[in-house]
């Protein structure tokens, strides 16, 4: 097979379909959202086309800055938790027999078939006072009386890590499978302990994969709006919850759109910053 640069229009043919899909399902809706974010809100009604900055102005307040800050921190915490759990897990997984690997992966994938609503309610039951896991602890004598673990930040974090964990493993898995085992062998031969070999050889070799995973989980967690509502108190609600409130319950589309655009911009900036720092670190 010979690779030739495309010359005629038909050579570009296969590209049209994905390009059209991207335009229809991403560029157009996103453009509409940006346009709506500048529209004039009619209180007690809907909105009229206009070009005003008032929706963004309303967002620029200490209150929303706090909510945005909390959402970003929560998503970063979820990303770090996922990575800390998933990296050793996936590394050990790749050392297992083929059969065991398939079983684990099927199990993890089946988590993805559950809807967010179901996992949310399942966790709220597990964390409840009347039917939760603390009853087990009481039964074996570790605790005196059962108590509710939800609503709390810990419950929100647990739910979100649970949901993002399978994705984390799936992203890490190919890179870890392809990792050259001679690298660790060489480290061990040169006298490194298994733990030292893991942190000094495996982790640096996977640098790019790790950064990519962190970014993916971070963005995934940023969009979560159901779990913070089910498992958290109002102070644990993310910006996505407030966007939903504005769009669905207040029919304030312009403000919801402005918040969403702002969230996208902040996210992109953070991702760019991460990549920029990563490249700089590599060059040094």
């Amino acid at each position: 097979m010979r690779r030739e640069p495309p010359r005629t229009l038909t050579d570009y043919g296969p590209l049209f379909f994905p390009a059209a899909m991207l335009t229809i399902f991403f560029v157009v809706p996103f453009g509409t959202m940006i346009a709506v974010s500048f529209f004039q809100r009619q209180q007690g009604g809907f909105y009229t086309p206009a070009f005003v900055w008032s929706n963004y102005e309303r967002f620029l307040s200490a209150f929303f800055a706090n909510v945005l800050g909390f959402s970003l921190m929560l998503s970063i915490a979820v990303a770090i938790c996922c990575l800390v759990l998933a990296l050793p897990f996936t590394y050990l997984l790749t050392r297992m027999s083929r059969r065991a690997q398939v079983l684990w992966l099927v199990g993890l994938l089946s988590i993805l078939s559950l809807s967010e609503v179901i996992t949310g309610f399942a966790w709220s039951t597990l964390f409840s006072r009347t039917a939760g896991i603390t009853n087990l602890l009481v039964a074996i004598g570790i605790m005196d009386s059962p108590r509710a673990l939800t609503p709390s930040l810990g419950a929100v974090l647990t739910g979100m890590v649970y949901q993002a964990f399978p994705y984390t493993v799936l992203v890490l898995y190919p890179a870890l499978v392809r990792l050259d085992p001679t690298l660790t062998e060489a480290a061990r031969t040169l006298g490194a302990s298994p733990l030292r070999a893991f942190f000094n050889v495996v982790v640096p070799a996977l640098r790019n994969t790790i950064v990519a995973t962190l970014i993916m989980v971070f963005i995934f967690a940023l969009g979560s709006y159901l779990l913070p509502q089910i498992l958290g108190r109002p102070q644990h609600w993310t910006l996505s919850v407030l966007i939903t409130d504005q769009a669905i319950y207040q029919s304030n589309m312009p403000f919801a759109a402005a918040m969403a655009v702002f969230l996208v911009l902040v996210t992109l900036a953070l991702v760019a910053l991460t990549l920029f720092l990563g490249r700089k670190g590599e060059a040094a």
């Binding site: 007690g44 809907f46 209150f63 409840s128 009347t130 669905i248």
Partner: protein, 361 residues
């Protein structure tokens, strides 16, 4: 919400299949199908009850076929109706709309004014259930009313509380489940009625701020601010969250099923909310819609709704053949707290902002 939508689509497919089979089997029915009406009612329990107890009799009485559409609660349906009307479409001809949604729809002339001459039964209604444009045109007719009351778990609370003031009681720390939005919890009205002599206290900004301050004292007692009704209902039944505000009708059904829950009308009154039948301006079925709304305003139909669906009637009590027991199961003679719907239109963004800061901050 996903679950409901899935169920709806499956129902719709089944319904379409049955309707199709019926049409093939009985050509005579085709004539009746010429006259049809799409009616939006809240999905789930409400729609199921209407499909079973109301719509078949209506079709039998008038020859107008009904296609019921499951609408989401909250204002999502209003947004969809409005967007569709701009494109000249009507996803439903007649919809059951909440009072706040009625006012918002009025702002864009979404509702076709109703001709009262074609709805003679509207004379049966209690006055406040006729929803009017500021210039006096009729925007909607009261469909059903319901109450939000003080609910408790009977295992945790042996004695029923008799006042909304129980929410402020320090003994109830971390025990309440309250609705999460200013425009569906109506807690400002409850605060005003309980502590400031009535909802008129909310007419000034000063009065509203006072109510917000008073309401802030409830925060330590609240375990859950819920948007999703199922979430609270489950927690109330299990005793996980033993007190809160909830719908009188659904709580009654849960108690009838043997769950340890009760609904109490506090001495300040239950919160009365209601739904209107309203006709989208994009609908071309005005004639059928008027017939339907007139049919629904009969006392006998309102009594059936109370017995089968558990809603409070919108027609005057003396016209109904409900027994005292049947009436008290769905309503109360205690003067209800009527929400200040006007505020949710004229001050909606300000109220929403203050409210969000109150519960999140």
């Amino acid at each position: 919400m996903d679950e409901i939508q899935n169920r709806v689509s499956r129902r719709a497919v089944l319904g379409a299949g049955v309707a199709g089979a019926a049409m093939l089997a009985m050509p005579s029915v085709l004539r009746a199908q010429d006259k049809s009406l799409k009616i939006g009612v809240y999905g789930g329990y409400f729609k199921d009850s209407f499909d079973k107890n109301i719509f078949p009799d209506f079709t039998k009485a008038t020859g107008i076929a009904v296609e019921s559409v499951a609408e989401p609660t909250g204002e999502a349906w209003l947004v969809q109706l409005e967007q569709a009307a701009r494109a000249g479409q009507a996803p439903a001809d007649v919809s059951m709309m909440s009072q706040v949604a009625m006012l918002k729809g009025q702002a864009t002339d979404l509702w076709t004014p109703l001709d009262m001459a074609k709805i003679p039964n509207s004379g049966n209604l209690i006055d406040r259930f006729v929803n009017k444009y500021p210039d006096g045109r009729v925007a909607g007719i009261g469909a059903v009313a319901w109450y939000i009351t003080l609910v408790t778990n009977t295992d945790t609370y042996k004695e029923a509380p008799d006042s909304w003031a129980a929410f402020w009681d320090k003994a109830n720390e971390d025990k309440l489940g309250l609705l999460a939005l200013v425009s569906n919890s109506f807690l400002l009205e409850v605060t005003a009625k309980t502590f400031f002599g009535g909802t008129d206290a909310l007419s000034t900004e000063e009065g509203l701020l006072k109510a917000f301050d008073k309401l802030a004292e409830v925060k330590p007692n609240v375990r859950l601010w819920y948007r999703d009704e199922a979430q609270f209902e489950q927690a109330l039944k299990s005793g996980e969250i033993p007190m809160g505000q909830y719908y009188h009708d659904v709580t009654g059904l849960a108690a009838a099923d043997g769950n340890p829950v009760r609904s109490t009308f506090p001495k300040e009154g239950g919160i009365q909310d209601s739904g209107c039948w309203a006709l989208s301006r994009a609908s071309k079925k005005s004639e059928e819609a008027h017939i339907f709304i007139n049919y629904m305003s009969q006392p006998t139909i309102q009594a059936t709704l109370s017995r089968k669906v558990g809603t409070a009637p919108t027609v005057r009590r003396e016209l109904l053949d409900l027994t005292d027991k049947e009436f008290s199961a769905v309503s109360s003679d205690i003067e209800p707290i009527i929400p200040r719907y006007d505020l949710y239109q004229s001050k909606s963004d300000w109220l929403n902002q203050k409210w969000t800061e109150l519960i999140v901050g």
